[in-house]
Amino acid sequence: MAVITIDKVSRWFGNVVAVNDVTMTIGPGITGLLGPNGAGKSTLIHMMSGFLAPSAGAVTLDGARIWRNQEVYREIGLVPEKESMYDYLTGWEFVLANAELHGLADPGAAAERALALVEMGYAQDRHTGTYSKGMKQRVKMASALVHDPSVLLLDEPFNGMDPRQRLHLMELLRRFGADGRTVLFSSHILEEVEQLARHIEVVVAGRHAASGDFREIRRLMTDRPHRYLVRSSDDRQLASALIADGSTAGIEFDASEKALRIQAVDFQGFTTLLPRVARAAGIRLYTVSPADESLESVFSYLVSS
């Protein structure tokens, strides 16, 4: 059992607090670290992988401090976000070098196994500088897996991947999670995380915003009040017809935009109500646009709840 414990951890850079009093435990299985860009995901992963010291608190692997403790790398495999990886080596040479650096008994066999696992054997004799983004990501995976680690940390592994490569990597990570390894990956895309991770940790602006089963978090996200901007052939009549229904919490007539700003309580209810009401009243809808669907607003709602 490999468990990473983050205990009351803060990290600041000068006056900027990147991670603020976060406590979480990452155990076996797949965990998704979700948050908007700049939320502190990378900072957390850098601390979990021993490349950043916490300013306060402790980050440990099975009780052993990670910072300045190179022995933890026998257990940890890291897939960094950056792409640079000794461009002058071939994929084979790169993974083999990683196996040798781990001091494995049979580095050749380990490199072969790791490359086969990510299905990169066919391109192993090409220089890594010629690889596509997805291929680089897979070879980076192979280098992280070459010593058969019990913990795998991946920083934004799906960035820049095409859908096919994405599915392949997801499949691979699922297999590792099912093997009982501790897999943690970061992402700023909810759909990506919920496809893969049962357990999700959400960070927003350096703070730990939510933790738990993805269904729970998904419910929190869809149940929040939604705001819409609506333009129609008769805004005032539409407003009066809508406010009678329980799924609408408030309506404001925005004179400068010449539109209605509607706050819906129930996402499902409102989206079926609006066209029904409009048709019954003989009103034409010109614009229906969600006003706050940005990820940041979803996250800030999570923080406030």
């Binding site: 850079f13 900027v16 990147a18 990378s42 490349f51 960094p80 950056k82 650096l101």
Partner: protein, 238 residues
């Protein structure tokens, strides 16, 4: 020593365009020596100018700078050092291996050509060429250690190293006598003086001082680089 680290380092050093600049140094030195030999000037004076001022004073520090920073700063800059550091390898082993590669390359690219150029210019007489060569070996090793440390300490290692070599050693060192005591080049020259026949090579810094400072700088820079490397921090998205 770790052979994998050594192999990766050497390939990184010689596998890039940097190698052309590095090879230009010995070629330049040999061309100058051949031209100087046919100039008919005083041979000892020529040896001082070419081996002392040009080679020991300029080419050895420049080679040490390119090689010393090249063995580690490039990897830190582009982030690929992560693959070396995310391993159960003692940090001092990574640093000493890279230092061995750096020292070997600096010797090969500057001290060996200096010896050959010296033979062309002056022959083996008065142990002048031997002295300069030993001086270049010692200062080349010290430069490598010093500039490797700079590569770990700062993202502007090449500029900081150039400032040291050009402004401190060449400019200030040639006017202010005290500055010469803290100049790697002068320590090398002290060794040259000690080896060459009496009165042929003059060095302002005493041999004892030079030897001590060479050892302190070499060992100190390597130890400090190891400590700094084990606390290397990745820059985040923030």
């Amino acid at each position: 020593m770790n052979t994998t680290v050594a192999r990766l380092t050497a390939r990184g050093l010689f596998g890039r365009r940097r190698v052309l600049i590095l090879l230009a140094v010995p070629v330049l030195l040999l061309v100058v020596s051949v031209l100087a030999r046919s100039s008919g000037l005083d041979e000892l004076d020529l040896a001082h100018r070419v081996l002392g001022t040009l080679a020991l004073g300029t080419l050895v520090p420049i080679t040490g700078l390119i090689v010393g920073t090249g063995v580690i700063a490039t990897e830190i800059e582009d982030g690929s050092i992560v693959y070396l550091l995310a391993k159960p390898l003692p940090r001092w082993k990574i640093v000493t291996t890279k230092l061995v590669v750096a020292v070997g390359s600096t010797w090969l690219l500057s001290a060996v050509p200096l010896y050959v150029a010296g033979l062309l210019l002056y022959g083996t007489g008065d142990r002048v060429v031997l002295g300069y060569t030993v001086g270049a070996l010692a200062s080349g090793a010290a430069y490598s250690a010093l500039f490797l440390l700079l590569g770990v300490l700062t993202r502007h290692a090449v500029i900081a190293g150039l400032a040291y070599a050009l402004i401190w050693e060449s400019l200030i060192g040639s006017y202010v006598e005290g500055a010469q005591t803290l100049s790697v080049q002068q320590w090398g020259l002290s060794l040259a003086e000690a080896i060459a026949a009496d009165g042929t090579v003059i060095a302002p810094v005493g041999l004892g001082t030079a030897l001590w400072l060479l050892v302190i700088v070499g060992v100190g820079a390597t130890a400090y680089a190891s400590v700094k490397l084990s606390g290397l921090t990745l820059s985040g998205e923030e």
